[in-house]
Amino acid sequence: MGINVLFFGSLTDATAVAALNNVAAGDTAALQELLHQQYPALRTAKYFIAVNQQMIRENTTLKTGDVVALMPPFSGG
């Protein structure tokens, strides 16, 4: 499949990496399940998901090359 996953802010405390490349997942729900198994601390973390820089609220189909970002609440400024 080949999904690129980005982690931001406090989520990198849970993952210890900022990005994963070539992850195999058909939709965002499957991707989350996979990531929650790999990084259990993500299960209780509050985060939003963007697919190719667009925020999504519901399960979304993924295709090769998509960039999925997991983002905790913003705290700029």
Binding site: L6, F8, G9, S10, D13, A50, Q53, A69, M71, P72, P73, F74, S75, G76, G77
Partner: protein
């Protein structure tokens, strides 16, 4: 990739106070400007369990932040009669007392400049994918939360 060129808003490290004077001076040739509204964010030495904040380390999802900023900009120009709008946000380490955010909105009249500046600051805080990590010491830090 979209065709439109995105304006950068990010600066590595603190925003120098001198930049504010330079930017104001730079607008003295715009004879239709009557009002500048400026907002500056400065890093506070907040008290935390284990010490006080000495710096904030900023990271961002840069591409998404610039796309989002372009939309915010477009919407505010459509809503208010503005002349100029400039936003600068730090990335990396900004020490206590230094400037991490510089928002600069200009218009013919004060109401548009003031209202748009306030709305812009709120939108930057709420909508741009930027994160601050408050550094207390080498061993201790807290992820910042916006109110």
């Amino acid at each position: 990739m979209k065709e439109k060129k995105l304006r950068n808003i990010f600066t590595e490290g603190p925003i120098p106070a001198q930049k504010i004077a330079d930017d104001v001076q730079h607008h003295s040739g715009k004879n239709d400007i009557g009002a500048h509204s400026i907002f500056l964010g400065q890093v506070r030495a907040d008290a935390k369990d284990g010490g006080t904040v000495t710096a904030i380390e900023y990271t961002a999802y840069i591409e998404m932040a610039l796309e989002k900023m372009a939309l915010i900009r477009e919407n505010l120009f459509a809503k208010y009669p503005l002349t100029c709008m400039h936003v600068h946000h730090s990335l990396g380490t900004v020490a206590v007392g230094e400037i991490c955010l510089f928002v600069f909105v200009s218009a013919a009249h004060r109401k548009a400049a003031i209202d748009a500046c306030e709305e812009l600051v709120e939108q930057i805080k709420q909508e741009l994918p930027i994160w601050g990590k408050e550094i207390v010491s080498e061993q201790l830090s807290y992820w910042k939360e916006n109110k």
